[in-house]
């Protein structure tokens, strides 16, 4: 029998394995590169890069919840030019595809940043962070509006030749509507889900646990939401999906593949155990081996339903 092959192809990126870092949880690679070679990942997604420098939110920025983490870091960034000078050269030293997540405070920021990045070597794709719920601009995210999401994709598409991954927010009524809009406007892939909006209160002080009051929930608590939405989107669009949300173990990663993901993002799990990526890959490999599959593609979206899918939405 053939040995299982974890090689993954995602919108033109050839990845050694299906595990990518979830943006916002892995900085620009410097911290994890202290521990191991970044090529451990199939691709490395950096923390969202803004056009200009910004500070981030006041503290406390993080609160632990049952099986989850609520955060409102506020995406501190030194700006795209600083990233090109300081961050990208470090990442280029590793044999790992780099996905640059970009974010903006206005629609115009996205094509501007993309055009600047387009001139640089060593970038495999751009991820559009249209879903971060923490941005001050308007409070609500661009990604909650299908028309705005589509417009950002279209404008970035004309500013760069790089593949585009649109990262979708779960804080919407119907995520398939957003997915359809970004696909129609030229997105090469989608990644989902971003964090789910939440709030926590310290009952002793009666203050919110986060200085920013609201935050984004991540961790195993949100995995069922991510699985459902990946499955819904898989049945709606034909572009590949990066499944993200609460992946702590190889079982979680396999679950995302079965729901229709081509690649799987790991974030919160890395805070607790930076080496978890190796355990996840080992487990995925063994699963394929024991079940007699050669490639992840063979099980992608292959959840067995009790009856044919009537209405995926």
């Amino acid at each position: 029998m053939m040995k299982p092959d974890l090689t993954t192809h995602l919108c033109g990126i050839k990845m050694a394995n299906p595990i990518v870092t979830a943006s916002g949880t892995s900085g620009y690679g410097e911290e994890f590169s202290q521990f191991y070679d970044l090529k451990a990942f199939g691709a490395f997604t950096v923390k969202s890069v803004f056009l200009e420098k910004r500070q981030g939110n006041p503290t406390p920025r993080i609160a632990e919840c049952a099986s989850g983490i609520l955060n409102s870091i506020g995406i501190p960034s030194n700006g795209v030019r600083h990233f090109i000078q300081e961050g990208l050269p470090v990442l280029r030293r590793y044999q790992v595809p780099v996905i640059v997540s970009i974010a903006g405070t206005s629609i115009d920021d996205f094509p501007k940043i993309a055009a600047i990045l387009d001139k640089e070597d060593g970038i495999s794709a751009i991820e559009l962070n249209i879903s971060c719920p923490n941005l001050e601009a308007g409070g609500c995210s661009f990604g909650a509006d299908p028309e705005v999401s589509g417009r950002i994709v279209r404008r970035v598409k004309s500013a760069t030749r790089l593949p585009l991954i649109a990262k979708l927010t779960p804080n919407v009524t119907d995520i398939t509507e957003i997915a359809r809009s970004v696909e129609a406007n030229g997105a090469d892939a989608v990644s989902l889900i971003n964090t789910i909006g939440g709030m926590a209160i310290d009952i002793d002080t009666r203050k919110p646990k986060l200085a920013n009051i609201f935050g984004g929930l991540s961790g195993p608590a949100i995995k069922p939401v991510g699985i459902k939405m990946v499955w819904q989107v898989y049945n709606t669009v034909s572009i590949p999906i990066v499944g993200i949300g609460g992946v702590m173990t190889w079982e979680d990663a396999i679950e995302y593949i079965l729901a229709g993901a081509t690649a799987v993002g790991v974030g919160t799990a890395l805070f607790r155990d930076p080496w978890v990526v190796f355990d996840i890959l080992k487990g995925m490999y063994r699963y394929l081996e024991q079940k007699g599959f050669n490639r992840l593609e063979d099980i992608k979206g292959k959840v067995k339903l009790p009856q044919p899918l009537q209405n995926s939405r």
């Binding site: 892995s26 900085g27 202290q34 503290t59 920025r61 632990e64 099986s67 955060n71 870091i73």
Partner: protein
């Protein structure tokens, strides 16, 4: 490229309550005690509670490389630390460390003052241990809420430090805040001050020490996500070259120069 392995699986030697809400956890492992400096911390995983995702950071209170041992003092404040009280001798603890910067303790440190409040007394044990036998004179000033919260006084006395203890309610030692006593000793020649304690204590100390020529280093406590620099949760405002910037308590700290940090910001 050499990769640092911060992973450590330590064996519990002892986990004893030392006052009403503090525990002393003695751990055995070879690598960590050899490389840890006073002021550095470890990030402990709560193995028994899968729902508690994040590790808990604790400064290292003492290292005994010759015995392959180190200690942390923890205060029971929530679910994570409550779960830690269940640890028994022989259990294994998964931790990352040593993390962060340590205190700068030069060879001829001169007259040193160790100023600690509550759980902040713990990392000062390691400072006293390092200073012991170097010819430095030590004054330990320790503040607690009340008699039932007092711990570690004997450790400083054991290292030959002149030790002053205050309690807020006067139930043990001198009545009042430790910073009131600090004012009294500042007439003496003090070269270095090592500080760790709650924010109100740091603020009071900061205004008393404003004109002091002593080098003041403070170890900060912060709510952390990862403990190794990537999540950006534990930032503090720091003065740097005329600007104010956010620095990570886990990576650029936890030890900062007292005059550099902005205590009005939440710390």
């Amino acid at each position: 490229m050499k990769k640092t392995d911060l992973r450590c699986y330590a064996r519990v030697v002892e986990n004893l309550r030392i006052c009403t809400d503090h525990y002393r956890l003695v751990l055995q492992e070879d690598r960590l005690p050899r490389v840890t400096k006073p002021g550095q911390f470890v990030n402990i995983r709560i193995n028994t509670r899968e729902d508690l995702l994040l590790r808990r950071p604790f400064s290292v209170a003492l290292v005994k490389p010759e015995k392959s041992r180190f200690e942390v003092i923890y205060r029971v404040v929530g679910k994570g630390t409550a779960a830690m009280t269940e640890l028994e001798p022989g259990d294994t603890v998964d931790l990352l460390g040593p993390l962060g910067t340590g205190f700068n303790i030069p060879e001829n440190a001169g007259n040193c003052l160790l100023l600690g409040g509550g759980c902040g007394v713990a990392p000062l044990w390691a400072v006293a241990d390092k200073l012991y036998g170097t010819g430095s004179k030590m004054i330990a000033m320790l503040g607690f809420q009340s008699a039932e919260h007092v711990f570690g006084e004997d450790v400083f006395r054991g290292y030959g430090a002149h030790t002053v203890v205050t309690t807020d309610d006067g139930s043990y030692g001198v009545k009042g805040f430790i910073t009131q006593e600090l004012e009294k000793v500042m007439s003496q020649q003090i070269d270095r001050i090592y500080i760790c304690g709650p924010t109100p204590m740091l603020k009071a100390a900061s205004s008393i020490l404003e004109k002091s020529k002593a080098e003041c280093q403070v170890s900060l406590e912060a709510r952390m996500g990862c403990g190794f620099g990537v999540c950006l949760s534990c930032v503090v405002s720091v003065r740097k070259e005329g600007n104010i910037e956010k620095q990570r308590v886990c990576s650029e700290g936890p030890v900062f120069r007292l005059k550099d940090i902005l205590l009005d910001d939440e710390t």
